[in-house]
Symmetry: C2
Subunit: 322 residues, 2 copies
């Protein structure tokens, strides 16, 4: 999306259409609960397990909505993106489902497991140097060569509409909650949640959880305009990216609050979830539980939907072993 | 149960009654699937996730059935067992649900996490030396002192009837499978499965999976009588115990086959499940998937129910990191 183009803000109907469009290709993931975690937090927690999607992340929703919304002519040229994270994997997965090409630009320093996952789903990788300049140049070249439809990892109305389907399922599966809490990086999940909840259940609060060491969204929220960090360092590797105009549109209007947590709190919450909920989730998923534990008064006695955003971790390098 | 007492063999009605009795206290755990694991194995796998029970193991079914089947007079004196595994945790959990005492005898060498779990659920631990003599003496003393109702970890009709409810749910949730495969240690889960499947769906095969390094059930099955190992060594720590008369009754009559797998195959299958199914499961849960991968022809094209028996692992000592 060009910087000077008017924003195309997705609406509630776009989210409903997305849900129908992606239904054959994604899972209506389960809600898991833990009596022990409820006791620990003083709240009634409902974990929406997007780590249990086939490619292991909620991003499959937005990626699938973009891929299956293309016309036949557009689809022929495939999709393209720059990402070394779950979006690359999910877009490759969705493109594979439709049988169209997927071109991913990722730094040569990206983890081997991420490269393997993209290739396993049929995606083509063009490597770049680990710098913004190289990434942008390389991506521009690949897109020009392939004519692929650019699907941004989060700042895309089709992607936001897709991510919003997660909160819709959460509300349906729980008969409603008082608060929905999710991690925030670029803001795709939070924006989708805002899109859905602001119409479906406007009295439900939306809280975003972020690492202190990558708290650009928190500072943006306080300042009233986007503040981007240059190269934040955090164990929550999926949450380093900044807000963009579309996601800021939603965050600034519909998020109730943004809570930050330290690296130790994130690692502890991640280990606690693995131990008591018994699912594999990424460090980037842990800020919500860490924030609840840190702010118990706020969540005490409330029904809280916690989105577990992904489960693609390096099992040889678990943070509590480092 | 005294060695010379006639066996009390649980029947199908006992399993149905158990399901009603335990319903308010256990979870109807989800079935998870993985397109990738289906591709890898050539089979259609349905993972029944007992690791997602509150105390993290299927043993909560049998333990709860025993606890809630006690009369008021019996319940007053509580329950007692010798176990350092999931049975101790699950029996403590069930006793706590009913508000009755639970006395557990476990070796002083048992992992701290297991002791903590028992105490967290309100169980009382009496430690013994890590020898059979000490365990039996200590248990006899504790039971005499407390008058507690002895609930064997697996060789108890109430426990077997309880474990059988797992296969009932699996069949209901999948509309039936061609094969059910589960790990085998003492034989409680397999016996419960036999109890249910032999009436509910007698054409469904029941396959047990065991470590090569603790293959006493396999050897018993081939020999036609119980063979017990003295002190088998295997990463699958929940599967070291021998068959007993009740479990042998079921295994010898209703199990189709027992397949064994090496330590490496077990660790690989465990890591593969964590990576692609994204749930935390114990090494003892991995022999089934390892056996499927090792015997693909046997499972090709079949609908296979795979019971994931528990999720209580030491996250600081994952086998692939050792």
């Amino acid at each position: 999306m060009k910087d000077d183009a008017p924003m195309e803000i997705p609406g509630y109907e776009d989210m409903l259409a997305a849900h129908e469009r992606i239904r054959p290709h994604i899972r209506r993931t389960p809600i898991l609960t833990s009596d022990y975690l409820n006791e620990l937090t003083g709240a009634q927690l409902f974990f929406k397990c997007e780590n249990l999607q086939e490619p292991g992340a909620f991003k499959v929703r937005g990626a699938t909505n973009a891929v299956f919304g293309l016309s036949e002519d557009e689809a022929r040229l495939g999709v393209a993106t720059h990402s070394s994270g779950n979006h690359a994997t999910c877009l490759s997965y969705a493109a594979g489902r439709r049988g169209i090409p997927c071109n991913v630009v990722m730094p040569r320093t990206a983890p081997q497991a991420k490269k393997d996952a993209v290739r396993r789903y049929g995606g083509t990788i063009t490597e770049c140097d680990p710098s913004t300049t190289s990434r942008e140049e390389t991506f521009a070249r690949v897109q020009a060569e392939t004519g692929g439809n650019f699907v941004h990892p989060y700042n895309d109305p089709r992607v936001i509409a897709g991510q919003g389907t997660c909160a819709k399922e959460l509300m349906e599966q729980t008969d409603g909650v008082d608060i929905v809490i999710a991690p925030i990086g670029g803001g795709g999940m939070i924006s989708g949640t805002c899109l859905t909840i602001s119409t479906f259940a406007p009295e439900t609060q939306i809280i975003a959880a972020e690492p202190e060491q990558a708290d650009d969204a928190y500072r943006s929220f306080k300042a009233g305009h986007i503040i981007a960090d240059d190269a934040p360092e955090t164990i929550a590797d999926g949450l380093k990216v900044p807000l963009k105009d579309l996601t800021w549109h939603f965050v600034s209007r519909h998020v109730t609050d943004i809570l930050t947590t330290s690296e130790d709190e994130i690692v502890d919450a991640m280990k606690t979830t693995w131990k008591y909920l018994r699912v594999v989730m990424e460090p980037s998923c842990a800020p919500p539980l860490a924030a609840i534990l840190k702010n118990k008064d706020r969540f005490a006695g409330k029904r809280v939907g916690v989105v577990i955003t992904g489960g693609n971790v390096d099992l040889d390098k678990l943070p509590w072993t480092l």
